[in-house]
Amino acid sequence: MEASIMDGSGRRCGAVSGVTTVKNPISLARLVMEKSPHSYLAFSGAEEFAKHHGVEMVDNDYFITEDNVGMLKLAKEADSILFDYRIPTIGESCSSVVDTPPLQMNGLPISVYAPETVGCVVVDSQGQCAAATSTGGLMNKKVGRIGDSPLIGAGTYACDLCGVSCTGEGEAIIRGTLARDVAALMEYKGLGLQEAVEYVIEKRLDGGGKAGLIAVSSKGEVSYGFNSVGMFRGCATEDGFMEVGIWE
């Protein structure tokens, strides 16, 4: 598992990768930010640091669900790396004929571009932004693979202007420095939050990379964008707006 957290004011940040027994990697990332001289700890070093700080640890089995054991088996048989599968395309359940029948797994169509990471961005009424992202990575990934979630500027970024958390094809997000670019477009090109989000989804995901992101601005705006089939999301603002959605 891996995670990162960033505080917009002061741009302080912490990240962890290769965590196997820490119940909540995001809290370990925060400890790295607050209690270590470093920004990013990984693998046994991260685990040692967790023990040292008395973070809640659990047996590795705690994280493993029956679903994911089955998924790994299928992914191995197909010799492919799979993103998570839980978002069926719209209408999939009632349509048996599609142009390219999707690969089925546990009765669910696999959308290779429906990865699952979790993240949260917040701005308070003083305009202070923060962002956090946490993930189990890719199914059947190579041991040691590091994705975008722990990388500041890729999966996670926050500054005085905005907070951003990304999800999707990690390699495309890293290449596009997606989270940092939302902020850079606002800072250097004068775009609004929504424009910046649309710009990065359209222009920064070259090579057909699929991804989504959530973002808030210091003015209290909230925005999201994705070019994948869907993105599990929810948001709320002070004026009472609330939305929970999966597809467009």
Partner: protein
């Protein structure tokens, strides 16, 4: 338009009092590595090949903190990291926590070319190295007596030694370890050919007395290393500051979104976006411009361009003879 190449051997508080016997071998190494890069680019090698070649040479040189000569973690081990990126395709590869691979930069390139991933770390990176048959050596190969001594001193001072950016209590410059010339971050190379193709590579042993598992800015795309069709950047210094400021991507974003020139963007980052005494960078643009600013006391650096300009230096405005 024309080719250009720049390389660095780390930025930090390099004392001007550094004795000649410590300064000269490093200057010679910078010249030697620059020549290798210039020859390769003149021979028509791709910028990606050139930056890998030059960084391999810097890794093999025990005077710099990468490959042989890497500094030690608090456990007395080496944990190296490296990153490479091709500007046109934005293909990239990175590794962290490498302990036996002779040239981490070449492993980063293999991650880029032979895996669906960008970034492998620790045991997974080592396993991948074995699988690819890349040259590995016993960890002791990387460890120099100087670095054992550096760790000992850092432990005695109970601190993580970050490029000597933090003043050391009770140790004055002259008495300080090995005249304080090393500790220094990172090696890197950026290159552009006369067609405007860009590439960057960065490699490091990290910080003296760092916690095991610590990852710095070097392997992080957009922080220590970044290239696209506009520019190529390799940064060095205090990793945590470079990560926070996303230095590599920042440079490109300032050019793309704000219309700054290469040197304006680089100066802006060094003056405005990073704290004093933390950061140095080298960068080239698609047009063949080169810049090497830093806000530390010095930066081991060298560059050359097609029109015949060459510079090798350590401190500001004082190119070596």
């Amino acid at each position: 338009m024309g080719w250009a190449i720049a390389l660095h051997g780390g930025a930090g508080d390099i004392p001007r009092s550094m004795p000649p016997e410590r300064r000269e071998p490093r200057e010679a190494a910078l010249r030697h590595c620059l020549q290798i890069g210039v020859d390769a680019i003149k021979a028509g090698r791709s910028p990606l090949d050139v930056v890998e070649l030059v960084v391999r040479e810097l890794e093999d040189n025990p005077n710099f903190n990468a490959g042989k000569g890497s500094v030690l973690t608090s456990n007395g081990t080496v944990e190296m990291e490296a990153c490479i990126m091709d500007g046109n395709t934005k293909n990239c590869g990175a590794v962290s926590g490498v302990t036996t691979v002779k040239n981490a930069i070449s492993l980063a390139r293999l991650v880029m070319e032979k895996t669906p991933h960008i970034y492998l770390g620790f045991a997974g990176a080592e396993a991948f190295a074995r699988e690819q048959g890349i040259e590995t050596v016993d960890s002791s190969y990387f460890i120099t007596p100087e670095n054992i001594e550096r760790l000992k001193q850092a432990k005695e001072a109970n601190r993580v030694q970050i490029d000597f950016t933090q003043p050391i209590p009770n140790v004055d410059d002259e008495a300080s370890l090995l005249k304080g010339d090393s500790q220094i971050g990172t090696v890197g190379c950026v290159a552009v050919d006369s067609k405007g193709n860009l590439a960057t590579a960065t490699s490091t042993g990290g910080l003296v007395n760092k916690m095991a598992g610590r990852i710095g800015d070097t392997p992080i795309i957009g922080a220590g290393t970044y290239a696209n069709s506009v520019c190529a950047v390799s940064a060095t210094g205090k990793g945590e500051a470079i990560i926070r400021a996303t230095v590599g991507r920042e440079l490109a974003a300032l050019m793309e979104y704000k219309g700054l020139s290469l040197s304006e963007a680089a100066t802006h980052i060094i003056d405005e976006c990073t704290p004093k005494r933390t950061t140095g960078l080298i960068a080239v643009s698609a047009k063949g411009e080169v810049t090497m600013p830093f806000n530390t006391v010095g930066m081991f650096r060298a560059c050359a361009t097609e029109d015949g300009y060459t510079e090798v230096g350590i401190w500001p405005n004082e190119p070596c003879d």
